[in-house]
Symmetry: C2
Subunit: 354 residues, 2 copies
């Protein structure tokens, strides 16, 4: 089981707890809080400009000598398909009329840059203890740079096949991301969400299939969940949703409210917001247009059209068009600091209960 | 956690192990083997004629005094929608041509009768220790009869909302059926499979939401899985897939072979075979027509057209049109007797490992 490895030895942290990187929902402040409390904090970098990344990294490393995790996406940036983009905007026409938006005058949405050599140049001097990737791994030369400067490399697998691929291509640690997880699915070999696997089935099968340590993600909300994940062979558990109501979370008040309403327990995988399947609380756009559709432009281009609607709706106090990312278990959310939440989890873990 | 209840006290069995009822895949022989070995064996009754049910029950009760579980479906039998049936057969026309089948001359498929008073009349003299239901609960008067003669009543919940509903309507025990589970989803309140929940998230939330004991199902294949389920608050774990290769299993050689091939680890929810979403190994029909479609006749009417194709294909050694029911974790399957598998699980459970 977990190859005799402990999170303490693998990551140099006190607790078997990783904070999931959540692009758009948090910055280095949350990473700092979790790392200082004994977990592995994470800084999501996919939506940061070079300048912002430099600033966040400098801020974080000036404040802690504890290990932390830098997370990057490694998708292939697609070319714009004008036909598809126009058809997509046409299919959203009624919404644009509702908010008096000219669909031909929409500014580009927030970009999501894949990891590349320019980003690597910027990161290298910091030699981050852990670097993690979503949507596979970067090209071999890029990955070699990251490993060369000493970072431990983690990557997400959503199937046993992806786990085997990641190990074969150089991942040091594999995150078994069960279908319960909030935000973007890390899938990269098969894009069919119908075959995505729940944590209870995925985790032990990945542990059997690979020799590298495995981190569990998806549906884990508390100490009992962490213990169950360790029981199934994980070296540590990665929690994201549980941190969404913490003081350091940067999600909107509308997103916070959605997480605390009874409807917050109903989520689905949707590709409407970015072009890739991601789990969020079911809202009007998902009910009316999906939650999955083939009409959507490729990731991350889909973001543009929806962001215009999102901004207009949010300005009227509505989250009908907002990506309300959340996993399938919101019961671990607490309106306290991320440090306090990490300590609470640690206390519950060390309590001798069975 | 699990309200202080133990499987031993609740069911009168030695082990926290329930064998999942698998209609079409097993009969009383498997129930007997598991019950005699200290678990709770189950007899699936949904596809049995009155005569067969009587015979199976007499056979089982003559051979054991241990507790067992009788499982029934409680769907509403739909009226045939001629239009839909014709359109469905038309959309399968190429397959019918491939196998030289006249789509207008297909005998009716295997029926699935919901639990009713006639069945209750037949069951009552046996006073089965446990009766479980899939797709909700039967009408109040029927449920009152079952509880009145002393059976413990279990029912499957696929969402927290369904668990609350089942408790409010009289279920004594709730099975939290995570999306990993093989065979038919028990869903009955919301038919949207996009919002179905993984075991890791569903189980602890159901345990929090209801006061009755909760059994975990979905993705559990071995002792570590059972322990993890208990850790998350379950009073016991229900395993189905793990028993599919046992000597007592009645699945076809083609189904057995599919479970043992690498592709056997890739399953999806599909409504193509019966009209209701159920998890099976991905095969040609699922790849080409779904796995989910709105064109399919209502459960269980969809069975008729597909059964004709299934029989023709199977006679040629192909499982392209067979429902290859399986959960997302086939690693627990063993080609031994169900009694031996139950004892193996018991031994691994009692071993002092952590």
């Amino acid at each position: 089981m977990n190859n005799g490895m402990r999170a303490q030895d693998l990551f140099g942290i006190d607790l078997p707890i990783l904070q999931a990187p959540m692009a758009g929902a948090q910055d280095a402040a949350m990473a700092l809080a979790v790392s200082e409390a004994g977990g592995l904090g994470a800084l999501p970098c996919a939506m940061l400009s070079a300048e912002a990344l430099q600033k966040q990294l400098a801020w974080l490393t000036a404040r802690t000598s504890k290990p932390y995790n830098l997370n990057f996406f490694c998708h292939t940036s697609p070319a714009v398909d004008e036909q598809k983009e126009l058809a997509w905007r046409a299919s959203l026409a009624a919404y644009f009329r509702e908010f008096n938006i000219d669909p031909m005058q929409i500014p580009e949405g927030p970009g999501r840059q894949p990891f590349n050599h320019e980003v690597a140049d910027l990161v290298e001097p910091f030699r981050p203890p852990v670097v993690s990737f979503h949507f596979g791994l970067p090209a071999a030369d890029l990955l070699a740079r990251v490993k060369g400067w000493g970072s431990l490399v983690m990557a997400s697998a959503t199937t046993v096949e992806e786990a085997r691929w990641l190990e074969a291509h150089g991942a040091d640690v594999i995150i078994a991301q069960g279908v319960e997880a909030g935000g973007h699915r890390g899938l990269f070999l098969d894009t069919d969400i119908n075959t995505q696997v729940g944590t209870f089935a995925l985790l032990p099968q990945v542990v059997r299939a690979v020799k590298v340590p495995v981190v569990a993600a998806g549906g884990i909300a508390d100490a009992a969940g962490i213990r169950a994940a360790l029981q199934l062979g994980a070296v540590a558990a990665q929690l994201g949703t549980a941190f969404l109501l913490c003081d350091e979370s940067l999600i909107t008040p509308l997103h916070r409210a959605a997480l605390q309403q009874p409807a917050g327990e109903v989520t689905a995988l949707t590709n409407l917001f970015t072009g890739r399947p991601a789990r969020g609380i079911v809202n009007r756009l998902m009910r009316e247009q999906g939650p999955m559709t083939r009409r959507v432009p490729e990731f991350p281009l889909a973001t543009t059209a929806i962001t215009a609607l999102r901004k207009a709706a949010e300005s009227q106090g509505s989250s009908d068009f907002s990506p309300l990312w959340a996993g399938q278990n919101v019961t671990g959310c607490r309106e306290i600091s991320a440090a306090a939440l990490t300590r609470l989890l640690a206390e519950a873990l060390s309590a001798t209960e069975e």
